[in-house]
């Protein structure tokens, strides 16, 4: 099974339609990867599905970069 990092990157590439090399750890979804507010909502939904977890709205708001998404999943996975 691929690492959390790889899976998160794959989702970001798919959801935002960006190139893999653009998706570095510090990339901000909105500022660097061109996501709008609906994109970020869909991104969180895709993460929820991939990792079979529920991300509450308060937490979702704080996930604004690739690294934050990876950290969140790592911290909340069983």
């Amino acid at each position: 099974m691929s690492s959390v990092e790889d899976r998160v990157r794959k989702i970001v590439v798919e959801q935002l339609g960006v190139k893999e090399e653009e998706v570095n750890a510090e990339a901000s979804f909105v500022d660097d990867l061109g996501a709008d507010s609906l994109d970020t909502v869909e991104l969180v939904m895709a993460l929820e599905e991939e990792f079979e977890t529920e991300i509450p709205d308060e937490d979702a708001e704080k996930i604004t970069t690739v690294q934050q998404a990876i950290d969140y999943i790592n911290a909340h996975q069983a």
Binding site: D36, L38, E42, M45
Partner: protein, 246 residues
């Protein structure tokens, strides 16, 4: 024309909702129609399958979130998530404002307007993911014109139109359209309960000089749901025999 589509029509046990459910099914969609009772749901299922259409009836109370969740889970399990949502269920509790009771106000706002919030939210995830979807809300000419004795109903119906425009802007980029169909005076249980004198005076204000039939609302809904309606969003389509010209 609607082959491969999966439609959810609320309030399909009778009247306008029934006509919408039957027409969408006739055009090839798989249709789930809802009623508030088991017997109503069974009647919808029977009406569909009797003529060889694909679909079923379900029990749904649009003013109860748990009921919305349960109906959508059942529907998704049976056929998949809806690609067409028709918010048709609605009630009237007419009264002059000075006599209106809290529960008359609350139940009309909840059943006619808050239901859009509940149902649309529940269906949007699958629609945005599919990059395709149609949400069609059955408003009313009263939401545009106003009507004495219907402050609650008119507020809910005008509210639907504002909701529709806003949501259309939110999800347009995902290929989901959101529109209203606003019926005028249609021959259903809802209008049969009006006193004769009131019906007469209403008729005199309709250039086409007759009530509309539920099928005439259904055909407007089917148009918006069809590929031919793809470039229309945030709009209210008035179907009222000329009673109100927007």
């Amino acid at each position: 024309m609607l082959k491969g589509e999966i439609a959810l029509v609320t309030g399909a046990s009778r009247g306008i909702g029934r006509a919408i459910a039957m027409l969408l099914a006739e055009q090839g969609a798989t249709v789930v129609g809802t009623a508030t009772t088991e017997s109503g749901a069974a009647g919808i299922g029977q009406a569909l399958t009797e003529v060889g259409h694909q679909g079923m009836g379900l029990v749904l109370n649009v003013s109860d979130q748990a009921s919305v969740d349960a109906a959508l889970a059942q529907m998704t399990e049976a056929f998949g998530a809806p690609s067409i949502l028709v918010n048709n269920a609605g009630i009237t509790r007419d009264n002059l404002l000075m006599r209106m009771k809290d529960d008359e106000w609350d139940s009309v706002i909840d059943t006619n307007l808050t239901s859009l919030y509940r149902l649309s939210k529940a269906c949007l995830r699958a629609m945005t993911k599919a990059r395709k979807g149609r949400i069609i809300n059955i408003a009313s000419v009263v939401g545009a014109m106003g009507n004495a004795g219907q402050t609650n109903y008119a507020a809910a119906k005008a509210g639907m139109m504002g909701f529709t425009k806003s949501l259309a802007r939110e999800v347009g980029s995902r290929g989901v359209t959101v529109n209203c169909v606003a019926p005028g005076f249609i021959d259903t249980d809802m209008t049969r309960s009006l006193p004769d004198a009131h019906r007469e005076s209403l008729l005199s204000a309709i250039p086409l000089a007759r009530l509309g039939q539920p099928e005439e609302i259904a055909s407007a809904v089917a148009f918006l749901a069809s590929p031919g309606g793809a470039y229309i969003t945030g709009e209210t389509l008035h179907v009222n025999g000329g009673m109100h010209m927007a």
